[in-house]
């Protein structure tokens, strides 16, 4: 199977700040975890994969095609990212969740129907008309996930999805992500090991903007090859 993402010496700088440097690796179709300290460049990497930004140097391929300024938008139509801090439009849950469908030309009724289905799968029936911004943290995370899933993306990028979540919410989200992983690619940046082990098959460890180690999740967690990886894992256990 062809890799979904191929990174070739990818770097990203913001002015003088170098966020990522010399990233070269592939991401296949299996659920992937991106691990690292805060500031290591996880979010930046996800943003590049989401098509929200372009690399300062190097090349990214998506399904074999080079990602350029011109086709960024079509990339974003099939790749959706959930941010670390959930953000909503100043509207109802339903309006937020149907947004992506509406701008793709889906009719109002059809969009609402699909939205309700997705909300139900996240145990959010009845929430449709509430103001999204006024929900609890856990509820907001679920709405944000619904908003992404209803679009049936090919790739779902999650930036610290289970941070600050009570176990109940985390479980529901975990289940839904697992369900999605059967059809599409999930990439999660996190330092929550319980879920990493359960949800992902493959992992990348980043430190100071560089790839330190990659491998199957279980292998990386149990037998890290690099000293730095070991230190990171120890620090968090």
């Amino acid at each position: 199977m062809r890799s979904i993402y191929e990174l070739d010496d990818v770097s990203k700088s913001y002015g003088k700040l170098v966020a990522l440097e010399g990233l070269t690796f592939n991401i296949e179709g299996a659920p992937t975890a991106v691990l690292g300290y805060s500031g290591a460049g996880k979010t930046t990497l996800l943003r590049l994969l989401a098509g929200l930004e372009t690399p300062s140097a190097g090349m990214i391929r998506f399904k074999g095609a080079k990602v350029t300024e011109k086709n960024l938008r079509s990339l974003r139509r099939v790749v959706t990212m959930l941010f670390q801090d959930t953000l909503f439009f100043n509207q109802s849950v339903l309006e937020n969740v149907t947004y992506g469908l509406r701008i793709r030309g889906v009719g109002k009724e059809e969009a609402a129907r699909r939205a309700r289905e997705t909300l139900a799968s996240l145990r959010l029936e009845g929430f449709e008309n509430r103001k999204a911004a006024k929900l609890s943290g856990g509820e907001q995370q679920r709405v944000a996930l619904a908003r992404a899933l209803v679009l049936e993306p090919e790739v779902l990028l999650l930036d610290e999805p289970t941070a600050n979540l009570d176990p109940a919410n985390a479980t529901v989200i975990g289940e839904v992500i697992q369900e999605f992983a059967k059809k599409g690619l999930v990439i999660i940046s996190t330092h929550d090991f319980l879920h990493v082990r359960r949800l992902t098959k493959w992992a990348v460890y980043l430190e100071k903007g560089r790839v330190v180690e990659t491998g199957e999740t279980r292998d990386l967690l149990d037998n890290p090859k690099d000293e730095r990886t070991r230190r990171f894992l120890n620090g968090l256990f």
């Binding site: 079509s74 099939v78 509406r102 109002k108």
Partner: protein
């Protein structure tokens, strides 16, 4: 990479498009809606405008000529003429013969017609500290100047290049005073604006001022001022009103035909009769005296001579070189 059938207009964009269409339609109507009536603009003086006579004239003219809409722009005579030179109006109705001459000379105007006259008056506090009551205009001014210099009173001037202001300057010169010099004195106040405001200022300061009859009577009646009429009709204080059409050869945007119609209207018997009665009911005397009857009947040769001396150019109200398509305007 991710092909998708896309509707030309996705739903959230509808309100935007509708909004653009509505706004464009509204703006189009506002700016392009054709104005059914022909617009003619007359540049005139504030003292004439403030009497309300012009509104009546406008109504009557528009009644007789429903396809036209007459508007008056009132400023001081100086400004009125400047506006006309720029071609922003179609004719002028002012009372300053030297400036009118200049206007004709410069080619800006044609077909001048005198339509009415009245007198400037000197008004002041009723206790008359300078003692000018009943004196001749020039003597009165000298006495006012003396009294003002000794601190007993003030003088208020229009100070706005209006016809009244121009008259005032000439009177000071004829009285032997140096205008530029007295202008800087502390007793000489410049209102810089219309006749009513000037009168009210004089009222406040218990000062003397030069005013046209109409403005004085009107403001007196309204109770705005308590000044008294101290020096009335005299040769030096004659005030003559004329109309001049803007010259279409020089100012091509001027609506010459309408202007000519209006001039004919102003010298018609009906309008001249209106001049005779306007103000009598409210103030006890006519604010303006019609010129045409005086011209035709010859009933007051002395007055007629005053007017010809003051307001005629080379023995004629409008020498031939300043006429253009005048029809039988000059009989």
């Amino acid at each position: 990479m991710g092909t998708e059938g896309m509707k030309a207009l996705t739903t959230p964009q509808w309100p935007l498009v509708a909004g653009i269409i509505i706004v464009t339609a509204l703006m189009g109507a506002y700016f392009l809606y054709p104005r059914p009536k022909t617009q003619m603009i007359v540049s005139t003086t504030t003292s004439l405008y403030e009497t309300g006579l012009l509104d009546i004239l406008e109504q009557r003219f528009e009644q007789k000529n429903p396809g036209y809409n007459v508007s008056f722009v009132s400023q001081g005579t100086g400004k009125a003429i400047e506006t006309a030179k720029r071609g922003d109006v179609d004719m002028i109705l002012v009372h300053d013969p030297p400036l009118e001459r200049e206007f004709l000379d410069g080619g800006y105007g044609v077909n001048r017609k005198i339509i009415a006259y009245n007198f400037f008056i000197i008004v002041g506090p009723s206790n008359d500290p300078a003692g000018i009551r009943g004196k001749s205009p020039l003597e009165a001014l000298r006495m006012i100047k003396a009294a003002a210099e000794s601190g007993t009173t003030f003088w208020v001037s229009r100070g706005d290049n209006s016809g009244t202001h121009a008259k005032e300057k000439r009177l000071w010169a004829a009285a032997g005073a140096n205008y530029e010099q007295i202008r800087t004195q502390t007793w000489y106040l410049e209102a810089g604006t219309g006749m009513t405001a000037t009168l009210m200022l004089a009222n406040q300061k218990n000062a003397y001022t030069l005013s046209d009859v109409a403005s004085y009577l009107k403001n007196s009646k309204q109770g705005n001022i308590q000044l008294a009429k101290l020096v009335e009709a005299g040769k030096d204080t004659l005030n003559v009103y004329s109309v001049i059409a803007c010259n279409p050869q020089e100012l091509p945007s001027a609506k010459f035909d309408v202007a000519m119609k209006f001039i004919e209207f102003l010298i018609s018997n009906e309008t001249q009769e209106l001049f005779e009665v306007f103000g009598v009911q409210d103030y006890g005397e006519a604010l303006f005296k019609p010129w045409i009857p005086l011209l035709r009947s010859g009933s007051n040769p002395e007055l007629r001579q005053w007017v010809e001396e003051y307001a005629y150019f080379e023995g004629n109200e409008c020498p031939i070189q300043y006429r253009y398509n005048a029809g039988n305007l000059y009989g």
